[in-house]
Symmetry: C2
Subunit: 238 residues, 2 copies
Amino acid sequence: MNDVKAFVFDVFGTLVDWRSGVARDAAHFLQGQGRGAHEADAFADAWRGLYQPAMEKIRKGERPFVKLDVLHRENLEQVLPVFGIDTRRVPAPELDELNLAWHRLDPWPDTVEGLTRLKSRYIIAPLSNGNIRLMIDMAKHGGLPWDAILGAEVAQAYKPMPDAYLRTAQVLALAPDSVCMVAAHNSDLAAAQKCGLRTAFIARPHEHGPAQTIDLKPEGKWDWVATDLADLAKQFGV
Amino acid sequence: MNDVKAFVFDVFGTLVDWRSGVARDAAHFLQGQGRGAHEADAFADAWRGLYQPAMEKIRKGERPFVKLDVLHRENLEQVLPVFGIDTRRVPAPELDELNLAWHRLDPWPDTVEGLTRLKSRYIIAPLSNGNIRLMIDMAKHGGLPWDAILGAEVAQAYKPMPDAYLRTAQVLALAPDSVCMVAAHNSDLAAAQKCGLRTAFIARPHEHGPAQTIDLKPEGKWDWVATDLADLAKQFGV
């Protein structure tokens, strides 16, 4: 426990509520397009649904690394027709603006307190697939007190590629087992653990809305399991 | 003025007093080696004197990019014999520890207030040749409230190479002329200006001690000249 020097965090779902945040902005957009705001949750889910496939091309080496803002923007153009919207009829600046929904997601209620407490004794940084500018804007929006912005863009590799975890530890000049990965996703922790990082699980049972079926509980031998970030801080005595 | 969205800062000399900080740790080290603490300022100057030549090999492509902590550590081994110390007789952990002197430099008296005020309306980040972990430790030591840690390690290029400035603007998703480089060094600002960044000069007449002869005043057509960081914040109405 005392060997941990830094906590690195998954962000979408673990620290911020992406579904409500994206739906909020999507509702406004859909109404402007003459569509019903009631489709906003489905819109957020569909947009997020293209997230993993888009990164997968880069993980497989079929495409050079591009930052997540670029992938989100491309995915947005794909998702519009599903909701009966002709992409070519929407002015590009309006799509650029909607794409920034990911930059202004709200933190879960315990996030800022938990990060602030952990920061008092440890290095804290995101290890997200989100790019640096996205993470900066989100931190300014929600008051996330990062020591540094790490993650896919600094590592030039998307999780769960080993380089995403290993290069982050390298940048921190720490052995992997001095770095603790915090996530609400068992798959993220499994990948981090394979790279030698310590792991902490926090359930976020409403990340995917009321009918969530995955990641409701820890499904691996994680080093720590906490009810929320404040509980994790408490377990580390801060 | 209102087009500036982000301020990026030179750090060694502009925001922190490297000479006093390194000399403080060097004095302790020199005494442990049976040398006089009065040599500490000269030791700091000699160590810093190897900084530019070490980076120059990387800028010229004669050596792949390595982070500044590595160069500082190599330079330390070179500087010891100049002060009559046999490098091989000093335990490596002691040199590793002394190398961290660069991680715990104190900010100038106006630095934290100025950064905090600028952060209220703008993105603020270091654009230093110092590596990420060095900047994290320094920020935690001195209370520098960065939004993100940018600079040579993220850009994989040492200032004044154009890539150091241009890739930083790219990561920020900003046009170069929406980014203002703040430095106490005319040469740094000249390189930033060539890349299209805006420029702000702050004189730090004691960076090199009482006998400083360079960078006492602005020597280019910089966009802003301020007496200190609080004055710069004031000029931007924050």
